[in-house]
C-alpha cells in the first residue's frame, strides 16, 4: 500500500518534472498534394493524398472493384471548380466537391459528392452525390508508383482529368465555356474607343477559333504597328496563309524569321515554324 503511494507520488512528480518531448514531424505514408490548373477561364484545384503501390496489387486487390474508393488516402479527395463545368458531359455548378470513384475492370464510376470535407470513404453518403459519370479505364505501359491526379490534353475549352495509378489511367473529360463568353467582350472592347487594346491576343483567339479572319488581320496589323516582334509577325503570316494570301504570308514569315534570328539566335523555334509555313505554301 505504502509502496503504491510512493510510486504514485513519484509518477505524479515525474509527470510534472519531465519536459514534453519535442514535437516530431513524421513523413506521411501518403503525402499530401495540391494541384491547381487553369483551363480556359476556369480554375480547378484538387487536394488529395498520394499512396504508393509498394509492391502490392492495387486495382482488384488493395482497392477492390465495385466499391466506393476515396480515390486517394486519408482525407477524401477534394475538387474545386471556380465556374460551372461539364464533367464527362454532366453539368456541375461552381463549388467544392468530394471526388470518389467506384473502380471496375472495364468501367469506372466517377462521383462528385456534395460533402467535400470527410475522412476517407467511411462517411460517404450516396444521397449527397451530385453526379455519377461512367468512364472507361485505359491500361498504360508505364508503371506509375504514386497515385497521380493530373490534367492533360489542356485546350482552350476543355481538359482531361486523369487518375493514374499502377498501370491504369482513368480519363474524365472536363469542358468549360469560353468562346461564348469571350467573343462579345472581344467585339465590344475592340470596337470601343482608346488605344493599347489586346490586338495580338484578340487576333490569336479569332485565328485559333476559326472566327472572322478579316478582323483578326486588322488586329494583327495594329499589333505589328505597335510592336514588330517575331511571334506577332508569325501570327500575321499564319492569318494571311489561312486567308489564301500566299505572297503576303511568305513575306511575313520571312520577316518573322529575321526578327527571331535577332531576338533568339539561329536555333529559335520560330525560324523552323516560319520555314515550315513557307514550305507548305509553296508545296
Amino acid at each position: 500500500m505504502k509502496s503504491i503511494t510512493i510510486s504514485a507520488l513519484l509518477f505524479a512528480a515525474g509527470m510534472f518534472a519531465a519536459p514534453a518531448a519535442p514535437p516530431l514531424e513524421f513523413p506521411a505514408p501518403s503525402p499530401a498534394c495540391t494541384v491547381k490548373q487553369r483551363v480556359g477561364l476556369t480554375d480547378i484545384e484538387i487536394v488529395y493524398s498520394r499512396p504508393g503501390v509498394k509492391d502490392r496489387q492495387i486495382f482488384g486487390g488493395l482497392v477492390p472493384y465495385g466499391e466506393v474508393w476515396r480515390t486517394g488516402a486519408n482525407q477524401a479527395t477534394k475538387i474545386v471548380f471556380s465556374t460551372p463545368v461539364k464533367f464527362n458531359g454532366a453539368d456541375v455548378p461552381a463549388g467544392t466537391y468530394g471526388l470518389f470513384t467506384i473502380p471496375g475492370e472495364n468501367e469506372w464510376t466517377v462521383i462528385l459528392n456534395k460533402v467535400p470535407e470527410q475522412w476517407g470513404g467511411y462517411q460517404y453518403d450516396a444521397k449527397k452525390d451530385l453526379v455519377r459519370v461512367k468512364t472507361t479505364p485505359v491500361t498504360i505501359a508505364e508503371h506509375v508508383e504514386t497515385l497521380m491526379i493530373d490534367f492533360n490534353d489542356i485546350r482552350d475549352e476543355s481538359a482531361v482529368l486523369d487518375l493514374i495509378w499502377e498501370n491504369t489511367l482513368v480519363p474524365v473529360k472536363i469542358e468549360v465555356e469560353l468562346a461564348g463568353k469571350l467573343v462579345p467582350q472581344i467585339e465590344s472592347t475592340m470596337a470601343g474607343p482608346g488605344d493599347k487594346k489586346p490586338y495580338y491576343q484578340a487576333a490569336m483567339f479569332y485565328y485559333d477559333h476559326g472566327l472572322d479572319l478579316q478582323k483578326a488581320l486588322k488586329w494583327i496589323d495594329a499589333a505589328v504597328a505597335e510592336r514588330e516582334t517575331f511571334y506577332i509577325v508569325h501570327l500575321k503570316a499564319k492569318i494571311l496563309a489561312k486567308l489564301g494570301e500566299k505572297e503576303g504570308a511568305i513575306a511575313a514569315a520571312k520577316r518573322s524569321s529575321e526578327l527571331a534570328l535577332k531576338a533568339e539566335g539561329p536555333k529559335s523555334g520560330y525560324i523552323k515554324m516560319n520555314n515550315d509555313l513557307i514550305a507548305r505554301l509553296n508545296g
Binding site: 513523413p27 491547381k36 490548373q37 504508393g52 489542356i154 472581344i186 520560330y270
Partner: protein
C-alpha cells in the same frame, strides 16, 4: 461613355486573355500565357512547390524541333518554371539549399542537363543568366510508348526520404531524383 470605364474593362479583358486564350502559344513564344499550373507536394517533411505554364504538343514535333536540342529551354511556357523547396534537398546528388529557384533544362536525345538557377522570377529563358546557375545536373530521358499532349511536371515514386521529379512531354519523360538529407528526414523541426 465614362472615359474611365474603358481602361478598366480593357485591363480585365487583357487579364482574361493572359489567363486563357494563348494556349496555342508555342513553348518559345512571347509574353502570352499557356495555362498556369501549380503543384504542391510533400515529400517526407519537405514541401515542394512547382509553378509552370503548360504548352501542348498540337501535332508538332517537340524535342529536337519546336524545342531545339542543345539550347536552354524554359521548361514550360511563358514565365520560367519555378520550384521551391522548404528544406535542403539533393537533385541527382547535387546539394540544393531551401529556397525558390528557376528550373531550366537543355534537352538532348541522350542526356538532358537540368539547371537550378537562382533568378527565380524570369520571363522565359530570354533573360536566362548562366552566372545565376546554382547547379547543373545530368539526367537520362526515358522514351514513352504513349504520347503526353500537355507538358507535365509531376513528382512520383514518393518515399519517406526520396521522390522522382518527372518532366513529361510528348514521348519523353526526364526523371530527376530528389533525395532528402538524412538529417532532414530524422530530425524534428
Amino acid at each position: 461613355m465614362n472615359p474611365n470605364a474603358f481602361p478598366a474593362r480593357a485591363l480585365v479583358f487583357a487579364g482574361l486573355f493572359l489567363a486563357s486564350t494563348l494556349i496555342a502559344q508555342t513553348p518559345n513564344s512571347g509574353p502570352a500565357a499557356s495555362p498556369a499550373s501549380t503543384l504542391k507536394q510533400r515529400v517526407g517533411t519537405t514541401d515542394i512547390e512547382i509553378s509552370c505554364s503548360r504548352p501542348g504538343v498540337k501535332n508538332r514535333t517537340i524535342f529536337g524541333d519546336i524545342v531545339p536540342y542543345d539550347k536552354v529551354w524554359r521548361t514550360g511556357a511563358n514565365e520560367a518554371t519555378r520550384i521551391t523547396f522548404s528544406g535542403p534537398v539533393q537533385l541527382n546528388g547535387a546539394d540544393i539549399p531551401a529556397g525558390t529557384y528557376a528550373l531550366f533544362t537543355i534537352p538532348d536525345p541522350k542526356e538532358w542537363t537540368i539547371i537550378i538557377n537562382k533568378g527565380a522570377k524570369q520571363w522565359g529563358a530570354f533573360r536566362y543568366d548562366e552566372k545565376a546557375d546554382l547547379v547543373r545536373v545530368k539526367a537520362t530521358p526515358v522514351k514513352l510508348s504513349e504520347p503526353v499532349e500537355t507538358f507535365t511536371i509531376d513528382i512520383n515514386d514518393i518515399r519517406d526520404t526520396s521522390a522522382t521529379l518527372n518532366l513529361i512531354w510528348d514521348k519523353t519523360r526526364v526523371p530527376v531524383k530528389i533525395t532528402l538529407p538524412k538529417t532532414a528526414a530524422s530530425t524534428a523541426h
